[in-house]
Symmetry: C2
Subunit: 201 residues, 2 copies
């Protein structure tokens, strides 16, 4: 059985939990307290030398870190990853957009504000993240005004990756009110079979 | 013929140029002056709403941004992407490591220091990037002490993605001297067929 090294509040961990649940693949979840350095211990670094969760343990000597790489791995030959090369490339493109142009603004702000609960100490950094976060939201909004999902009008791992931190962006201080297409897309995702919430282990 | 919207000093652009050259695929390179906002024009945003290079124009209505997504697209069914699912997932994992834990430190420092040429103005930001950059280099060094390439002892797009900014990390103020395994790996990459330098268009 798969084992998932995870942190319940992590959107990156949630991506994997959501897909595993939708694929109806059983797994054991191991909660790591990232706030107490549990991903930086010598033992954990043998699983992921980069010291981050999530990590999927596939077998006793196969550990896969990077949330979006895990989504890629699990979704191969399923309905959550398209068959066509061009659509596959677009899924991968959105996964990189998420990790480079979205997560460092939207997830990081949520981490400081909501998980560390330290809005005051991080005030300057939070302000510096606003423009990038809103730019990512606008790119998504513009796309979703024309499309029901991110790639080929079908629900894929691109939607899972982008949904994870977007639907809790308010916890990082982003006002989602004006993003009507994004909010409609939330509803389409939440209506998918075997959907679970971010706080479901 | 493919058209590549590019910026000659960009490591992200170089990844694509290097792979295209190694695959012996002809392409037209369109130099975009990112320092003068040429990727933020209304016209360019129709090609990539996220306003960044590189973008690969595959046909008049097919534009693919995100350097590592382009590597994925071009390498399908070639020797540069493994056939096995588990090795594929590891390639993808290193691509995300590169964009999340490496590029934002090592490439960004080089951009401020070497491309904008403004070490003084960015002194505080440059210092803040040191730890993350050296941590990424250490993860690579540890891996390369045991392996000749990043995945399955074969040269793949994971090596191309990581090589692009690592081999010019000194331009961002990182001292590569202690990283002997990384420097040996540079030589193995530079010996690959149809290798080109970063400043070759």
């Amino acid at each position: 059985m798969y084992r998932l090294y995870d942190f319940l509040h992590s959107g990156n961990g949630y991506k994997v939990r959501l897909l595993l649940n939708q694929l109806q693949i059983p797994f054991e979840r191991i909660e790591m307290n990232i706030l107490q350095g549990e991903t930086r211990t010598k033992e954990f670094l043998t699983k992921n030398p980069n010291g981050k969760i999530p990590v999927l343990e596939i077998s006793s000597n196969q550990f896969l870190p990077e949330s979006n790489a895990i989504l890629f791995y699990l979704s191969q030959n399923t309905a959550y990853f398209p068959e066509d090369n061009w659509y596959q490339a677009q899924v991968i493109k959105w996964l990189f957009f998420e990790q480079y142009s979205h997560e460092p603004y939207i997830a990081t702000s949520r981490y400081w504000r909501s998980i560390l609960g330290n809005t005051q100490e991080f005030q300057t950094q939070l302000e510096a993240k606003q423009d990038g976060g809103y730019q990512a939201l606008q790119v998504m909004e513009d796309h979703l005004q024309l499309h029901s999902f991110f790639v080929n009008e079908q629900y894929t791992i691109a939607d899972i990756a982008l949904y994870a931190y977007t639907h809790v962006a308010d916890e990082g201080g982003f006002n989602l009110q004006p993003y009507k297409a994004i909010k409609s897309w939330f509803k389409r995702i939440e209506a998918q079979k075997n959907y679970i919430n971010i706080d479901q282990g």
